[in-house]
């Protein structure tokens, strides 16, 4: 964008100095030591902290200062300090320049989207690797590969990392990248907050990984409280990283919601809003309202551990139920934070590859908003056998089963859209269709869990584990890959190899089902979650599952190979609109200009008008004249 000629390039080492990721890491590590030292001073006089290697105050202070150092090093402090000193507000920072903008604070939503894509991708890879290591342990019915404590850390790391990363899985890369383009905006509402939401993710991820160095996490991703209170210093990493992620989720919700509410281009009426944007809006509401409750719950755990409060210690006046309530008040909307963007993606892809308008658009929107509303009312179905409010169980059974009505709408939309369609089985379409197969199984297995008599057996067993992997991996991750294959040509400007993509899909799809379907049986046959030892009679089944899981891992390696092959070696530039989509995001040039549109476009037609006779183009990109008739 900027036409300023770049002066003589300074040497490489000089270019490393400045506000960038490297500085951030250096200041972050320095901040850690500073904070730990301050925490050590604060602990003086508290015998249970002072002089022990479990000075939680020191560890929290270390993380706090470390995060602050990391953000300062990235340059997040410059603007607030400048504002205090009276510099005028600016909206954009570092949006042009070389490829190094990907490693620093950049307020261009497209850069943030790509940062997210690779950031969460790396953590997804590590989380998946943890799953492979877990399955290695489960080849034998008693601890063989890793001792029990390390296995539990592995379980917790896998769960926590996956939940954290998948929360940002679609809104992060695709929400940030495409929502402004899809609604005809030239930027985000809060570009600097948007950059912050991304940079909190690697900070949280690194902090979570540091749990290993502090003795690991023994609680699984749910971190149930009295156990979290007594956990080793690794729990501090869990708490801190979850706080950061929850702050990030809240701010993502804030930013995207404000963007969608205020920045739609003229003519982008609510009924013309792409269905993906609707799903992002619904998810943003959940994030902005549910994630703060998680921050509060984690703050209570933090205080229990560092300040010796007793929120969750029953013997000292607290209650473990408080944690369960707060956690699942966040936790169940969180499930839909994961699911809703997936709905949006597949419904966005279906019309493009079925070459038909989205069938029942309004019903789809109603379904998403219905899920959003209901998801705040179901959390106690995680606690059916906890002994809490047993009299309310029929109510939560009802609300939980009610939520399958709006979810069912999504299936109806797909059925209607496929009716007499002209389906093209491209790689993104394959992933979108697989979503429906997996989510069908995941959703229907959820009905077993919602029914209390049935839940008594399946609760806390591998059945639950298989259920939510069907919805999250089978749903969200498949939708994510559908989006990757669909949108990557626009984001990166290069085509992905289709053959490798199909191999990736089929391996992933087949072996995903071979991995997780048998686990329903394992749960039915009395195998609890998160165990490193199980009944010897289930060994054959577990070996089969592990073998299938390894093939899933292999399919991911094929995807990475595809990425490297297509981006580094072949570099076949992508067409501007390879799928002949009517989406607004496909009407802009590749690579997308910094400001997306030269002028704010005027939307003249809906995005799904496939086959509609004389449908006007989706937007007028050089408004000046009046918008075309029929808008």
């Amino acid at each position: 964008m900027s036409a300023t000629p770049i002066a003589a390039q300074p040497p490489v080492w000089r270019r490393l100095i400045g506000f960038n990721m490297l500085t951030g890491l250096v200041l972050g590590i320095g901040g850690w030591f500073l904070g730990a030292w301050i925490g050590g001073q604060m602990a003086v006089g508290h015998p249970y902290l002072q002089g022990t290697d479990q000075n939680d105050v020191g560890i929290y202070m270390g993380y706090l200062f470390g995060v602050i150092g990391f953000l300062v090093g990235l340059g997040f402090a410059n603007y607030p300090i400048g504002r205090l000193l009276g510099r005028p507000p600016t909206l954009r920072q570092h949006e042009t320049g070389s490829w190094t903008r990907y490693f620093r604070l950049c307020t261009d939503h497209k850069v943030v989207g790509i940062q997210y894509l690779f950031g969460v991708g790396i953590f997804f890879f590590i989380g998946g690797l943890n799953a492979m290591l877990m399955r290695t342990e489960l080849l034998r019915p008693v601890e063989q590969a890793w001792p029990a404590s390390q296995y539990l850390t592995l379980v917790s790391l896998h769960g926590t990392m996956m939940i954290m990363m998948t929360s940002a899985f679609i809104l992060g890369p695709f929400g940030n990248y495409f929502v402004p383009i899809m609604i005809g905006a030239r930027r985000m509402a809060f570009p600097r907050i948007e950059a912050l939401t991304f940079w909190l993710v690697p900070a949280a991820g690194l902090i979570l990984l540091s749990a290993i160095a502090f003795g690991g996490i023994a609680t699984g991703w749910t971190g149930y409280a009295p156990l979290a209170d007594e956990g080793r210093a690794g729990m501090d990493a869990y708490v801190m990283s979850f706080i950061l992620i929850a702050i990030s989720l809240t701010l993502v919700g804030l930013n995207l919601m404000a963007t969608i509410l205020t920045m739609r281009a003229p003519g982008m009426s609510w009924t013309r809003l792409p269905i993906f944007v609707w799903s992002v809006l619904a998810t943003s509401i959940l994030q902005a309202l549910a994630a703060p409750v998680l921050v509060a719950a984690m703050a209570m755990v933090l205080m229990d551990r560092a300040a010796n409060t007793s929120f969750f210690l029953a013997s000292a006046g607290g209650s473990q139920y408080l944690y369960e309530n707060l956690f699942w008040f966040f936790g169940h909307p969180e499930v839909y934070i994961l699911a809703l963007p997936g709905f949006g993606i597949v419904l966005e892809l279906l019309p493009v590859f079925a070459r038909k308008p989205l069938w029942g658009y309004r019903l789809a929107v109603a379904g998403m908003l219905g899920v959003t509303l209901l998801s705040f009312m179901v959390w106690q179905h995680h606690l059916f056998v906890s002994g809490m409010n047993a009299g309310l169980r029929p109510f939560y059974m009802l609300t939980t089963e009610l939520i399958s009505i709006p979810t069912g709408f999504i299936f109806l939309i797909a059925i209607g859209t496929l009716w007499r369609a002209r389906i093209r089985f491209t790689v993104p379409m394959l992933f979108a269709l697989a979503f429906f197969f997996n989510f069908l199984i995941g959703g229907l297995s959820g009905v077993f869990l919602s029914d209390v008599p049935s839940d008594v057996t399946t609760h806390g067993s591998y059945f639950v584990m298989a259920h939510f992997h069907y919805t999250i991996v089978g749903g969200l991750v498949f939708a994510f890959f559908g989006a990757v294959y669909y949108w990557l040509p626009k984001m990166l400007g290069f085509e992905l190899n289709e053959t490798l993509g199909k191999i990736h899909f089929w391996l992933f799809f087949v072996f995903f089902n071979l991995t997780f379907f048998p686990l329903f049986a394992a749960g039915f046959l009395d195998m609890p979650r998160r165990v490193s030892t199980y009944a010897p009679s289930l060994q054959t089944l577990n070996i089969f599952v592990s073998a299938s899981a390894y093939v899933i891992g292999l399919s991911m390696l094929i995807f990475i190979a595809n990425l490297v092959w297509s981006l580094v070696f072949v570099r076949q530039p992508a067409a501007e609109n390879p799928w002949a989509s009517r989406g607004l995001e496909w009407q802009v040039p590749t690579p997308v200009p910094v400001s997306n549109f030269d002028r704010v476009p005027v939307i003249t037609s809906g995005p799904y008008e496939y086959g509609v006779p004389n449908a006007p183009p989706v937007a007028d990109f050089a408004p000046g004249a009046l918008p075309a008739a029929g808008s």
Partner: protein, 218 residues
């Protein structure tokens, strides 16, 4: 540098970073205390353990811990014990810690030992006052649970750095049990003896090599 080369360089950097993280995780996973074999051979072997109130060395000087004596008489900081299957195991535990008291007094009764008794400083007991217990040695899958009497508070010459010597104040607990078919059994302590942790049950109480371990019957 061309764009392709730059992409490749970034990809290589990412791969290197990821590989570092993977190495970090895997190296954590494979850390396990060394295996200590019992003295003697099938059908009767001897195990000698000690419990120290504070380990005194890195990485956790203030943690309570078990130590095991290997057949050459050297104290090893490990709780992974190897015994033969279908054998009688005579256990001697030198107990250097003061009494903490049991969370569940039920474990004050020795169970699963031959005769249902233990020998504490030469006296045979079939129950120990739960308030006097300092630790327990329990292998739940074999039904073995033995309370270990603590030394008196303020005793002379207390031990604070592992390994403790016989000259330091301790109680000696001996008992025998029989191993069954081969297998890997966990063993643990039931006394909330982890200083500084809520409910006394974090840290060393949940760490293999400290107050938890494996008994490998082979």
């Amino acid at each position: 540098m061309s764009r392709a080369a730059r992409t490749l360089a970034v990809a290589a950097g990412v791969a290197f970073g990821t590989a570092l993280i993977v190495y970090y995780i895997v190296s954590y996973l494979t850390v396990a205390p060394p295996v200590v074999a019992a003295t003697g051979s099938k059908p009767r072997v001897h195990l000698t353990l000690q419990t120290v109130p504070s380990f005194g060395n890195a990485p956790h000087p203030d943690w309570v811990s078990y130590l095991a004596q290997d057949p050459r008489g050297k104290w090893v900081h490990s709780t992974v014990l190897r015994v033969p299957a279908y054998s009688r195991v005579d256990v001697t535990i030198l107990q250097y810690d003061t009494a903490t008291g049991l969370r569940n007094p039920f474990w004050g009764q020795p169970r699963g030992t031959i005769g249902g008794t233990i020998n504490v400083d030469g006296k045979t007991l079939n129950v120990l006052d739960p308030n006097l217990a300092s630790h327990t040695f329990a292998i739940p899958d074999l039904g073995v649970s033995v309370p270990l009497k603590g030394v008196a508070k303020g005793a002379k010459n207390p031990c604070s750095v592992a390994p403790c010597t016989l000259a330091q104040t301790h109680t000696t607990v001996t008992f025998s049990f029989v191993t069954g078919k081969p297998g890997k059994f966990r063993w643990q302590c039931f006394v909330p003896c982890a200083f500084g942790f809520p409910l006394g049950f974090g840290g060393p109480m949940q760490s293999i090599g400290w107050m938890d371990g494996y008994l490998m019957g082979q």
